[in-house]
């Protein structure tokens, strides 16, 4: 792993016991044995990414729109003949998923590319911070932002479900957890693209992969029915390579109170975490290889 110590910026060394992470916000950390740990550096970057994200107006615009949509679903169902609770829960989970994806996308596209474009990345990588720590910190910061936003939306949904049905099934929480796992993959994807392409391209690539991720099972089925041996092989490879987001869909079980197979849920959970790990590691590798001259 490349590390960048301070020689290019001797003035910062002058502060001797302090490392300044300017662009990352106003955070400063003491170089004590405890604080010098890699975890603290990652956490500092994550916290500053979170602070930076919550200052972004687009986040509030999306969040307010999502909350209005959630509340609007309660008005919409008044024209339904029956099944209002089901519709509210379906709409609410869809809102969380769609607006969560939008938040991940809009904030994620500039995660690394903005730092490169504004050349602030030079300041950051000149500090005693590993590049992988920078990427990991950025990723965790965005996840923290998403967690807070998803939490707010989920609270509103639970409230609505409680108001309508008198109960709020714990399965709703499970569905929200898996939506968050899906968003973890989306965030990792957008960050991966953000390390080597422009914000617009990162958004397009990520959206394409999100769509493909929901259709990967159909792709395999289609190739099995109509394709040649080579097509089938390609489809098989793509099936395992693309993120299979339909595996993380537990919305039906949550809405209808259906039984959830604990084994399948645990495997889906592990699948999401492993896939996220692979994407974040790929982003770290690409960022490591990048030459900032």
């Amino acid at each position: 792993m490349k590390t960048h110590s301070v020689p290019q910026f001797p003035q910062l060394v002058g502060e001797s016991r302090r490392a300044n992470v300017d662009r990352l916000g106003s955070a400063r950390f003491e170089e004590s044995p405890q604080l010098a740990g890699g975890f603290f550096k990652v956490w500092t970057i994550a916290l500053n990414t979170f602070k930076e994200a919550v200052r972004d107006r687009i986040l509030y615009a999306i969040l307010i729109f999502a909350l209005v949509m959630l509340a609007g679903s309660a008005i919409l169902v008044t024209i339904s003949v029956s099944g209002e609770g089901t519709i509210i829960k379906h709409l609410g989970l869809a809102c969380i998923s769609i607006f969560g994806t939008l938040i991940a996308l809009f904030l994620g596209i500039g995660l690394v590319s903005k730092e490169i474009e504004k050349r602030t990345v030079y300041t950051i990588i000149s500090k005693p911070i590993h590049r992988y720590q920078f990427i990991l910190g950025k990723y965790l910061g965005l996840l923290l932002t998403l967690l807070v936003n998803i939490g707010i939306m989920a609270l509103v949904l639970f409230g609505l479900a409680y108001l309508w049905e008198g109960i709020s099934s714990p399965r709703l929480l499970l569905a929200v957890l898996f939506i968050f796992l899906e968003l973890m993959i989306v965030t990792a994807l957008v960050m991966l693209f953000s390390t080597f392409s422009s914000p617009a391209l990162s958004a397009i690539f990520t959206l394409c992969l999100v769509v493909a991720g929901h259709l990967s099972a159909d792709l395999r089925l289609f190739a099995a029915r109509f394709g040649s041996a080579a097509t089938r092989l390609l489809a098989e490879a793509l099936y395992f390579l693309l993120p299979n987001l339909s595996r993380l869909n537990f919305k039906d079980q949550a809405v209808h109170g259906l039984g959830v197979n604990a084994g399948i849920a645990a495997l889906s959970f592990s699948y999401a975490l492993l896939y996220v790990a692979a994407l974040v590691l790929a982003a770290m590798t690409l960022f490591q290889w990048r030459d900032f001259k």
Partner: protein, 233 residues
């Protein structure tokens, strides 16, 4: 500068008023041409479901709202429901566990659309997709009992519903009565005895007792006639 400053608001108001006017004219012409048809084109669930990227439950919910509007519109106008069965099939294919389209849709098809076959196949589809729910076999039993007057089929569905969790308290009574009605007095008597033993309240217990006494009388009179003499105790 002043004239320019005034021109923009004036144009804004004029274009807004113009758009409202044109929209009103368009609505009037459409109303003259034909009644608004909300479900003119109903796609096939096999092709629609993959495009929805996992949001098929929301689509089913929104379609169910639209079906309600469709039924309401046609009840007030021509009382014809040509797209109803197809739309209900789509909604239930998009979300097979959404019970309302089966239950209410079955009633719409039966009593408004006069399409009993479509109603039964919709309810049977629901019963197959939701084997743990009592509601759909219950509704099928009701159809066979009240409409088709096929007590054998009604008994079969109600018996199935009565074994499922959450079923209403009256279902075992229906089953017991149907056994009696189809001539299976001994089975009916067993069911009433079971109800008598497990009844939560006095009124149900006294009802069960009354039925047991009636069935015993029927059974005893039959035994006297055929000479078997087997008095049920």
């Amino acid at each position: 500068m002043k004239r320019n400053g005034l021109a923009i608001p004036v144009l804004l108001v004029a274009s807004l008023l113009g758009s409202v006017l044109v929209a009103a004219v368009l609505d009037g012409r459409r109303a003259d041409a034909m009644p608004e048809e909300s479900l003119r084109y109903v796609p096939d669930a096999r092709y629609l479901k993959p495009i929805l990227l996992g949001f098929h439950g929301v689509a089913a919910g929104l379609l169910w709202i639209q079906i309600g509007q469709y039924v309401g519109t046609h009840v007030e106008t021509d009382r014809q429901f040509p797209q109803l069965a197809k739309a209900l099939d789509l909604a239930t294919s998009l979300d097979p566990h959404f019970l309302e389209p089966y239950r209410w849709g079955g009633l719409y098809l039966l009593y408004l659309g006069r399409q009993p076959r479509a109603a039964v196949s919709l309810l049977e589809k629901g019963a197959a997709a939701n084997p743990e729910r009592w509601e759909l076999p219950h509704d099928l039993g009701r159809y066979y009992y009240l409409e088709a007057r096929d007590y054998g089929q009604a008994l079969q569905w109600w018996e199935r519903a009565a074994k499922l969790p959450g079923r209403p308290e009256y279902l075992p009574r229906f089953v017991a009565r149907l056994y009696a009605r189809t001539g299976q007095t001994e089975t009916a008597l067993d069911l009433w005895l079971d109800l008598y033993r497990t009844a939560h309240n006095d009124s149900l217990r006294s009802l069960a007792l009354k039925e047991i006494e009636r069935l015993r009388a029927v059974h005893n009179s039959r035994s006297t006639v055929d000479g078997s003499g087997g008095l049920l105790q």
